[in-house]
Every structure is written in C-alpha cells, then in structure tokens.
Symmetry: C2
DNA sequence: TCAGTAAATAAGAATATTACTATTTAGAAA
DNA sequence: TTTCTAAATAGTAATATTCTTATTTACTGA
C-alpha cells in the first residue's frame, strides 16, 4: 500500500493521513502477514515518541472500514491482516493451533443479497470465517 | 428447549446439567430474543444465590458450542440468541440502529467446503453476519 | 504562507471478556 | 444410598477493548 493510494482512500471519506496511520501499516507489514493490536502497539512503542494503544485500536478499526486491513477472529483474540489487493477474502482457521489459510471463496457471490434487499437492508459488508481442524491437528 | 433435550445435548460431550445453565437459558427466554451476557447476568443477580459473571460468559460460550444459542456480533458488543430449532441461521445487522433480522441463507450450502477439504481442514463451523443499513436508517 | 476547523491523538478511566484457583457439585458406579 | 472423580462454580485477578476529554495536528481556503 503506497502512501498516495492510502491518502486517496482516506480522503474519500474525510479522514486524514497521519504519521500514526502510516506507522501502523508499516508495523503490520514488518511483523508479517498478521498481528494483534497489542503486537503492533509494542512494535511501535520502540519508536519515539511512542504511540497510544487506543490509537492503534481506533485506526485498525478505521483501516478495516476502508478495506486496507481485515480482522480475523481467532479463539485467542483478534488479529489483523493486510489486504494488499484491496479485495477482501476469507479464512479457514484451525481451532487448535490457530493456523490460518486464506480461501478465495466469498459468500457475497451467493444469493443472500436478494434476501437483504427484500428486508429493506442496504448491504455494506459481511463477516465470514470458517472454523475447523487442520491436517496436523487432526492427527493428534 | 426442554430440560431432557438440553441434558442429552450436554451429556453427549460429557458436560453436566447445572442449575446455572438452566437459569441462563431461562433468563434468555425471559429477556426475549436476544440479550448480552451482562443483561443475563443482571437478570440472574435478582435471584439468590446470585450467579457469577464468569459463569454466564463461560456457559454462553458452551451453549453456543453445542448449538443451543448463537452469538451475534454487533458494533456495541456481543449478544446471544436462542436457536430453538437447533439449526443455526444468520443475520442482517443494521450498523446504525443495530436492528437484527434473521435470514435463512447459510453459506454452508455453497462450495467453500471443497476448498477446506483441499487444504486439509475438517470444517467444524463458521461465522457469518451481514452488515448494512435498514430501511429506516437509510432515510436519515 | 497563515489562520480556521474538523479530525486525530495521548492518557487515563471505564467496560467487556477471559484466566486462575480453591471449593463445590453432578453424575457414575459400587 | 454412599463414594469417587471430573467438571463446574464463585470470586478475584488479569487482559482486551472502548470511551472520555483536553490538546494537537492535517487539511482547507483565503
């Protein structure tokens, strides 16, 4: 995610490009695919001046809203992942070891939007995660 | 949910039928379709002896695991709903007023299980919620 | 460039949720 | 019925997440 692109996405909704937002994205990139709010916070605390924990949470929520990151709900808590292509996707999550595998499948393509329209809802988004047991954990 | 049925579902996994579990279900029924852990806790605190908050959370998680209740993630927090027929379903959630509408649609019926199998995952369940704006909130 | 304004931040308080541990209890089996 | 044992509970501590408020800052337009 290049800064001009981020700026455009933010500006679209009246949000501002701040050093903290860029730092959060940089930390997420640095930490690898996925990280919890606390991990990002701790990474950024190494810098001076340190960021506020609330700012990390607030911005991860905002970045998720504009589609730059995605939230994944594990048993042990919530982690965030970059969606570099801007297109969201979903996950298979192992309930034992918490291994996460991305799947290209998205229920958007199925017919639920019909039902939403019938109920008078304007669909904005959805949450979809599949839980199961990975190959390794099935052996145990 | 009649007690014998609940007992059978619990026994199946080695869980016990406790007064607290029955009280939580009774409270949920009494409070209407949906309630938060705190609402259930406060309702049960009117009784003597009062229940522990931890017990409410722990058992709502367990009841969700065996399919008697379902968790719905709202912006303002998590609420629980009875699934009287034992078959789960999903929801349209208004992000403004938090009105919830049940929808019969379930992504289980779509092809994601194929992908899960290919990745070596044994699917246990899934989370699916649709967020949008209801008719009333679209007028605002 | 400079001033004005809405948005964002930091810091700490408040709330929500989960974990820990000693004690109690439901259900199994004698 | 009595005993035994794993599961469950209460109470409290710990952690995760969100809210509140005073202050700072990014962008806008002159």
């Amino acid at each position: 995610m290049k800064t001009p692109v981020l700026l455009a996405l933010l500006k679209e909704k009246g949000y501002k490009l701040t050093a903290q937002r860029q730092a959060i994205l940089a930390a997420l990139r640095y930490l690898g695919e996925r990280a919890s709010a606390k991990e990002i916070y701790e990474e950024l605390c190494k810098e001076k001046p340190a960021i506020s924990l609330d700012t990390v949470y607030r911005n991860l929520r905002l970045l998720a809203e504009i589609g730059i990151v995605q939230q994944i709900l594990l048993q042990s808590g919530t982690v965030f992942e970059l969606t570099d292509d801007g297109h969201h996707h979903h996950h298979l999550v192992c309930v034992d070891c918490e291994k996460v595998v991305c799947i290209p499948y998205c229920p958007e393509s199925c017919a639920y939007t019909e039902q939403a329209r019938a109920a008078g809802f304007a669909v904005l988004g959805h949450l979809f995660e599949v839980y199961g047991r990975c190959t390794a954990c099935q052996q145990k």
